[in-house]
């Protein structure tokens, strides 16, 4: 438990991706089996055992600590699990601290009524960091800023294999992953992928750069809309059904209506969308469906999910990935036939030359479309991001001239810089024009520009609150963003998708920046 607790502790403080990878690799290299396998399962969301509610944890601590002291402490610390971890009266020598294996296996077998006793015994024996990690584990959700994909990447680097190889076999594996570690450490063969429901690493597109555009042989390509949803892989084999995200995460539980509709034998590639009356809803509507363990009937009704298919990897037991795109498309179309509920096919658009295509992309402004995909007609379906066969050609972003309002210190390499910017647009108020925040951006500028922005913030600070500085309204930023949608989280009632700083308008007076109404007019209606 000690090394896993130390890992979690390090991960929450480490801002950079590389730093997190380094910590995880060190853990895989030093922790022992089976503990590191359970640790891996914890990081990839693969632990399934009796959890404990915060109320139980609170009740346990209140039996042991003076209530007034607990209240003052909780007020000071602010987080229940951390307060309990710190205030729990240690019973050194009461018993031996549990290993991670012991915690996981006993919780898996325990009845609900046994959980409090187990937990209290372990809390007595662990140190403060161990107690904190145990409480995070048992109350669900480690939240240490590590995705399943990142954990697998660390594992791949640790074992010196490609992460796609791990993803391909992942869904045939069970924690604590003994055979996987044996293979990565050269003691065993590569585990066989579970053929029926394994995730197949996806084929990804490169962005189309200007120079590619000039030299592209358009006749050899097919075009499709680039849908603004989530890329998914649907696997239905031998009666089992899975819905995977691009990184191989199983997201089927959040989309039961899709799983239910998968009454076929195939592996398909498509875009997950929310579609109402045949129209694609804004991405935000899909976002509300993500990350849920269960979905309410109300949400199923209000935000119905749909998959727009564009490729086929397997038909029945037939691996069609080596076939050219045109042939795979034919197989997809004949398989689809007259139609299937919850699914449709993404149109193949005519490519009538360079100019026509550019015009098509420029028009791609309706909701749900991010731009164009260009795929070579003869391309086989291969894992990864090969350069050449597939391109994505996003439409130009929307832009707005906004005024810098607040700046916050960044993390990691940027911790000495004010690098996170909240910006606003003008609107009418009783006392004349006022600025109201419309978004936040922390990338899009060069290192050199960051230095200039940082200096400007320091020179124009009017107020400070902790790591945040309020600045005088004097600097205009041109921000680019992919879309804007209504939001109750922002005072302006609007939220931007992927805002980034496109240009610093040192030249432009703040009172000539854009107004909230201009932004509101960019909201796309489905």
């Amino acid at each position: 438990m000690k090394d896993f607790a130390a890992l979690l502790d390090a991960l929450i403080f480490t801002p950079s991706r590389n730093g997190k990878l380094r910590h995880m690799q060190a853990y895989f290299a030093t922790a022992e089996d089976p503990h590191r396998g359970w640790g891996l399962a914890g990081l990839t969301g693969g632990l399934d055992f009796k959890s404990a509610k915060p109320a139980l944890v609170r009740a346990l601590v209140e039996e042991r600590v003076d209530p007034a002291l607990f209240r003052w402490s909780y007020d000071f610390v602010g987080d229940l699990a951390e307060t309990v971890a710190l205030i729990w009266p240690a019973q050194p020598g009461a018993n031996r601290p549990p290993s991670l294996d012991e915690v996981v296996t006993r919780l898996r077998l325990a009845g609900k009524s046994e959980v409090p006793g187990l937990l209290a015994g372990w809390l007595d024996a662990l140190d403060a960091t161990g107690r904190w990690a145990l409480l995070k584990l048992i109350t669900g959700g480690l939240r240490v800023g590590v995705s399943a994909r990142l954990a697998k990447t660390a594992l791949a680097e640790f074992g010196k294999v490609d992460v796609a190889e791990i993803e391909e076999i992942w869904h045939g594996l069970e924690p604590p992953y003994g055979p996987l570690f044996d293979w990565l450490e050269g003691r065993g063969d590569r585990p066989e992928p579970n053929e029926s429901v394994a995730f197949r690493p996806m084929m990804l597109a490169n962005p189309l750069e200007d120079r590619d555009f000039e030299s592209l042989d358009f006749a050899a390509y097919r075009a499709e809309w680039k849908w603004d949803g989530i890329r998914v892989q649907l696997v239905a084999r031998n009666g089992e059904r899975r819905l995977y995200s691009r990184t191989g995460d199983d997201i089927g539980r959040a989309f039961p209506e899709i799983i239910e509709a998968m009454d076929f034998e195939a592996v398909l590639d498509g875009e997950l969308l929310v579609v109402r009356d045949g129209l694609v809803a804004p991405f935000n509507d899909l976002q509300q469906r993500l990350g849920r363990k269960t979905v309410s009937a109300k949400l199923l009704e209000s935000n119905p999910a749909h998959v727009r298919l564009y490729d086929m990897l397997f038909e029945g037991g037939d691996d069609v990935r080596p076939l050219p795109l045109d042939q795979r498309r034919q197989r997809l179309e004949s398989w689809y036939g007259a139609g299937r509920p919850r699914f449709d096919l993404s149109d193949v658009l005519p490519v009538a030359g360079r100019e026509a295509l550019a015009a098509l992309r420029a028009e791609a402004r309706t909701a749900g479309i991010e731009g164009l995909m260009l795929k070579r007609a003869d391309s086989a379906y291969v894992a990864g991001r090969p350069k050449g066969p597939w391109y994505k050609w996003k439409r130009d972003p929307l832009t707005l001239d906004v005024v810098l309002m607040y700046a916050q210190r960044g993390h990691g390499k940027r911790s000495s810089f004010y690098s996170d910017y909240t910006f606003g647009a003008w609107r009418d108020s009783e006392g004349g024009d006022e600025l109201v925040p419309v978004g936040k951006a922390y990338f899009g500028f060069t290192d050199e520009e960051l230095k200039q922005l940082d200096k400007w913030v320091r020179d124009n600070t009017v107020d400070r609150f902790g790591p945040v500085r309020a600045v005088a309204p004097g600097l205009v930023l041109e921000v680019a963003f992919d879309a804007v949608h209504p939001s109750t989280r922002h005072k302006s009632g609007l939220a931007m998708r992927f805002p980034r700083v496109k240009r610093i308008r040192w030249d432009k007076p703040a009172d000539e920046a854009d107004r909230v109404e201009t932004l509101a007019a960019l909201v796309e209606t489905a």
């Binding site: 801002p15 060190a26 600590v65 710190l86 403060a128 790591p467």
Partner: protein, 340 residues
Amino acid sequence: MSAPHPETWLQTRPEGLYCLPGDFYVDPHRPVGRAVVTHGHADHARPNNEAVLATPETLAIMRARYREQAGGTLQPLRYGERERIGEVEVSFAPAGHVLGSAQAVLEWRGSRVVISGDYKRRRDPTCPAFEPVPCDVFVTEATFGLPVFTHPDDGEEIRKLLTSRALFPERTHVVGVYALGKAQRVICRLREEGYDRPLYIHGALQALCDLYRELGVALGELRPATATSKQEMMGEIVLAPPSAIADRWARRLSDPVVVLASGWMRVRQRAKQRGVELPLVMSDHADWPELTRTLEDVGAPEVWVTHGSEEALVHWANGQGFRARALSLIGRGEEEQEVA
């Protein structure tokens, strides 16, 4: 005749805690005629008092910090020696907080008060350990006066730093430390854990490190952190004041790992707010178990609690049968909020 109750001869005044029969203040907040100073931290030792009584080490620290404004007459008093001021016998006992730190022991007509200043009970290679002195009233700090504060063993924290250095050999570890006490303790503990490379220090730490050495504390090789290239700083450990570690000064370092050594690092949210990547829970102040154990060790029937979470310690002490109350002193604890 029974001994007078300390409430009758010690008062809180705007300048600080005043001893009537001796006509002096202990750790006055503003310049006064006569001051007894427990230790060199700026919330206890202020400049420009007319006369100062303190340990020789504390006086040396005050001279290094305040130069000619250290005070009019500076009178040294060693641990265990006695000095009469007015009608009051004054002596110093080690507080284990920083070099020269002392508890002020005041006796008048058979009644004894110990004003402990800031203290800790753990081993610190840079100063002698705290000695409990029996008394009628014990004045205690309560910087970490909540039961969530149990500082871990400092060896474990120092080894965290060394482990991180091994994991990120291309990065510079920049450790935020308070210039008086914490800096030298971290250096000594690194040496004790076997780290013998040169340590790089921010200019603001230089004078006090020099002074500690003069006073016999070995620190190994120290180099100024200025005028070095990023290349040279790869894999090195730099010590700097907390205000510098995540600010422009740190940009000269090679992809720094921001480290902060402070008791406040026990609370993760505090560490995250400050952008700390490696928090080291190391304090020169007593944690909750040390505070409560000290009240028991000293055994004073009455306890006055100052700077920190007074209410929690007062509540605990009253529950244990002490007569305890909060003593509010202006300006105290400001430094602790920052970097204890």
